[in-house]
Amino acid sequence: MSKLAPPIRTTLLLMIIALASLAGGYWLSQYLQTTGSGGRIPEGLEATVLDPPRSLTPFTLQDHNGKPFTEQSLLGHWSFLFFGYTHCPDVCPIVLQVMQVAWQQIPHAKDDPAAPRLYFISVDPDRDTPALLKQYVQYFDPAFIGVTGQADEIDKLTNRIGVLYGFEDKQPGSEDYQVNHSAQIILIDPQGRMRAVISPPHDPATIARNFTTIRDFYGD
């Protein structure tokens, strides 16, 4: 018995240290979440919240009316960004349909400049003209806005927020190719900063609830 005691004592000591570390880590994480030093994140979300939010770098695209769409266009209201292309048979129409339903569940006043906006950003500018994009997005909801532009300007935005896309079988002059792309929806706050990432599978009620929670938590 006395021979076994030192190893047991060591084990106990290690266990106490481990438990103390765990408790300390837990306390620290709680402390960080509840103090003003950053790290404040609302609870009960499926979306991934960025805290602190990530600021965007300048880019220049065009909206579906041909007007400039830049990082400045994202100021003063919450924005949902979804990246895709109109030759997409499945994912893009599904997400736009989901957002159309979510839109009905998100309380907002029409024609209010501070109302949230949804931007469908085409990463396929060779086929998606602003005029075509306008007809495409407004089929789902007249409030939705199509955006596209030069590939290098699109990349400034996608690289900054971590959205991926790529072309498959794209030959010069060919209209017949596919585009692989991320299916995340990006939430931008009224200060024009990336605030949250909503990952698929997308559900309207979940998106609406997550958005209102985030908006209520961080404010307009």
């Binding site: 997409c88 048979p89 994912v91 129409p93 007809q135 089929y139 896309y165 692989n180 299916a183």
Partner: protein, 154 residues
């Protein structure tokens, strides 16, 4: 009893023979939940969905599809790869014996290229599936608006 047993037996056999080819010719592939998603009128592709069930003892392979209302039809699969949704053409879709394959939003779908006319909810198109056996199976597919709850199997 008008028919004596010696007469009845060959008649029954004959009747069975007549039925046999009918049973064999009908592909034992059952289709349900077939629909085409209405798309914005400017869209150059549309998606079709259906559930294929094979109650038979042998696998059934679909090698192609066509529809007079579209330029061409392919079978595609959406899947997540490298953080992106990728779409791949499926050359041969096997419906296993005693099993089923669902073509549903977010997974497999019929990729319908270049609609020849604007299709609205309420229209019906007929997609003909080509089977490896040489048989073909016409499938009437009503056009419907998407609903936000279409993606249920992921």
């Amino acid at each position: 009893m008008l028919l004596s047993r010696p007469v009845l037996q060959p008649l029954v056999a004959l009747l069975a023979l007549c039925l046999l080819p009918v049973v064999q010719a009908a592909p034992p592939l059952q289709v349900s939940d077939a629909w085409v998603a209405e798309a914005p009128p400017v869209a150059t592709v549309q998606a079709g969905y259906l559930t294929l069930e094979n109650p038979g003892p042998q696998d059934i392979t679909i090698t192609g599809a066509s529809c007079p209302d579209f330029d061409s039809v392919e079978i595609h699969e959406m899947r997540m790869a490298n953080g992106m949704m990728e779409m791949n053409q499926i050359e041969k879709l096997v419906v296993p014996a005693g099993g089923q394959v669902q073509l549903a939003p977010g997974g497999f779908h019929l990729m319908l290229f270049k609609p020849q006319r604007v299709l609205k909810a309420g229209d019906t198109v007929t997609v003909t599936l080509q089977l490896e056996s040489g048989a073909s199976l016409p499938v009437p597919m009503p056009v419907k608006k998407r609903s936000a709850n279409d993606t249920h199997h992921h």
